[in-house]
Symmetry: C2
Subunit: 413 residues, 2 copies
């Protein structure tokens, strides 16, 4: 018999029972916390029209699209066919673009502002590498229709509440406003066209240090004095000196968000102004945030305001802010024992039945145990029953019963 | 500003908050019941290799595959390109094929027998029609590695337990064994090649009656006396006369499963032998089951034994039985009020804040209410606050607080 490969698609993976139990608990914890804070779960299909996907500000993600072949009479390949000739739909690369489309299509039936929770898989044809997969789960909350920073305050507080509920302690919320950083760069003699490249260099400050950033910018041909003034200047701005940098509403709003978030943290986590913070996505228009784990150096959540996206699909402009928790990264941290798993699974019992056992009797007994709060596994008894029972004891079962010729009941210690 | 369509992909749909709440509760109920009965949740990617999909016994589903374009240098279209030239992967059309691949790939790390629970979306490019969508959720339990009918008994009992927990009462479990029906057809003078067509006609007995089945078969050119003897014969066989039809182990096993399932039902639901039952999937090899709602006439669950599938991916043959609950159909029944929704959501409170309110104070108040078990919505106060408060009262909120210049607290009756 020819054997077909049992491997999953390249760059994807199967999820085995132990990890699946962690994922299911994590999803429930997150969903419950967000629901308690007034967020409403919605869902969109994994498939989106290719015009929507390719017309979005997805940056690098657009190079990693999975696109789906047209069907029936629409499928007309030629040697010159490009992706859009052959494909009419594709798999979503994030949850923000579908949410924007969703909101535009259903605004009249939704609360205003609308506070959305989404948990779902997204797809990116990334080069396969350790810890990065082509299908992975994202978990986003968004507030749509609120122009004031009360939305930013609420999102930051609620995301931090979810991280605390998951079991994280020592984390830092970093907050910035892209507009203030852009203005600051312009005020140091750079042009509007320079901002992108300068921001990318500044964003690396935590990895390569101020000197590294300076070297990168002078290597790109920028004047050394200008670069030094800018990089030292960015490093010197604090939340207390922010208003001296800019008298804008954006500065006042940023100070308000940082101070209010600090008050709400009650010392359980840190809140910091971080003038270097950019966040990669091109669609952010104002404040951006990121949460890093102290001592680990990578982020577990990120987000920002994107006031210009929904207007592309709706008849009018609608402000929006989102915050995404790194679901896969948090699963990895739990699996690695970095944070304790809140495993409160019910106690397990094994019911072994021999070939002469009455299955109705076995299952009736299991129903009584289930009603008493146990998880019950029905297991056919093997010839070496004693060895088999020992395996279940070692696997953490609380007790067992045997039905059939060799009936017995045993509670493991 | 050019507006891009806000519609989801043709044949798919967005899920709005009310339905999403029903879906999330239903998924938890099902998952908890199956976990208590010893089933373990696993997950596979939505994408599978196209060789696996096209090499499967998917029947009509293979004509409805969504296939994904090759990327990079592998993408070489010509005018003669077929689907397999252009595509290397596709979206799964069910959960049974991926589970078979999963089991073959991970057998050595899994319990034996392995009792799997899967809940996930599958994709079929069906002609769009009312109530049928191109992306929908399936919910399957399977027992892999158990050759005896204790697996059938356990699956039927556990699926019925889930339906009872969801809130169904008057339902009927129909059970048959394909092999017995095939033998019966052969014993009435039909050939092995006739079995497929004859089964399809017999399967319609509940819709078109015995006379309709006879008419369909004589129209197909079968001898009228042979047809009458067969159709009347199939209708006359009962669980009590089954052994007179066949002395095989299959008959004894079927009687055992029906009688044990009846005992376990304790009168809460009906269990019936149904000699007409086929179930569409080509891969079933023995017993098949279906659960119908009394008085509604359509099925809410179906399954059967498929002993030959896993061997195609594993090095050896492995017996398996599965039972799938119609997740989307049950959601529809709950949304239509057919079964009461077990809505035990927490009581909701709205906190209105005016523009001069201290957000830290508002959120601190919300945290106290959340700790007391409420779901809290923060809402910016409008100019017509009285009207706004009335809307939340009408929407079922338990009470509200206003923060800012117009501070007040009110519990709705």
């Amino acid at each position: 018999m020819a054997t077909i490969s049992a491997k999953p698609v390249r760059g994807t993976r199967d999820i085995l029972p132990d990890e699946m139990a962690v994922r299911e608990r994590l999803e429930r914890t997150i969903s419950d916390i967000y629901a308690a804070h007034g967020f409403t779960r919605v869902e969109t299909p994994a498939l989106e029209n290719i015009d929507l996907l390719l017309g979005s500000e997805g940056g690098e993600n657009l190079k990693m699209l999975f696109t789906v072949l047209k069907r029936g009479s629409k499928f007309k390949p030629t040697a010159e066919s490009g992706v859009t000739d052959l494909c009419d739909i594709g798999l979503r690369y994030d949850l923000t673009l579908p949410l924007s489309r969703f909101y535009a299509g259903h605004a009249e039936t939704l609360d205003m502002p609308f506070k959305a929770l989404q948990i779902g898989n997204v797809f990116r044809a990334e080069r396969p590498q350790k810890g990065r997969f082509r299908s992975f789960k994202q978990c986003d909350i968004d507030i749509i229709g609120e122009p004031s920073v009360s939305a930013e305050i609420e999102l930051i507080h609620t995301t931090a509440a979810a991280l605390l509920a998951i079991g994280f302690h020592d984390f830092t919320v970093h907050i910035n406003d892209r507009r203030l950083l852009s203005d600051f760069i312009l005020s140091h003699g750079f042009s509007a066209e320079d901002i992108g490249a300068v921001c990318i260099a500044l964003d690396k400050a935590d990895k390569i240090g101020a000197d590294g950033v300076k070297a990168e910018l002078t290597d790109r041909g920028y004047d050394e004095d200008k670069v030094t003034a800018l990089v030292d200047g960015v490093g010197a701005v604090t939340v207390d000196t922010l208003e001296s940098v800019s008298h804008s509403d954006a500065a006042a709003d940023l100070i308000n968000v940082i101070n209010t978030s600090k008050t709400l943290a009650k010392g359980r986590y840190a809140v910091e102004f971080d003038f270097h913070l950019i966040r990669g996505m091109g669609y952010y228009t104002g404040q951006v945030f990121e949460i890093t784990l102290d001592g680990v150096g990578y982020s577990v959540a990120g987000g920002g305001r994107y006031d210009n996206m929904i207007g592309k699909y709706a008849k009018k402009s609608v402000p929006a802010v989102g915050f995404s928790i790194g679901f896969e990264r948090i699963v990895g941290l739990i699996m690695d024992g970095f944070i304790p798993s809140d495993e409160t699974t019910r106690r397990k019992v094994a019911l072994f039945y021999e070939s002469d056992a009455d299955m109705a009797e076995v299952i009736a007994a299991s129903e009584k145990l289930i009603a008493d709060g146990y998880h019950v596994s029905l297991v056919k008894a093997k010839k070496k029953l004693g060895k088999q029972i020992g395996q279940y004891e070692n696997a953490g079962y609380a007790g067992m019963m045997v039905f059939g010729r060799d009936e017995q009941v045993k509670l493991f210690d």
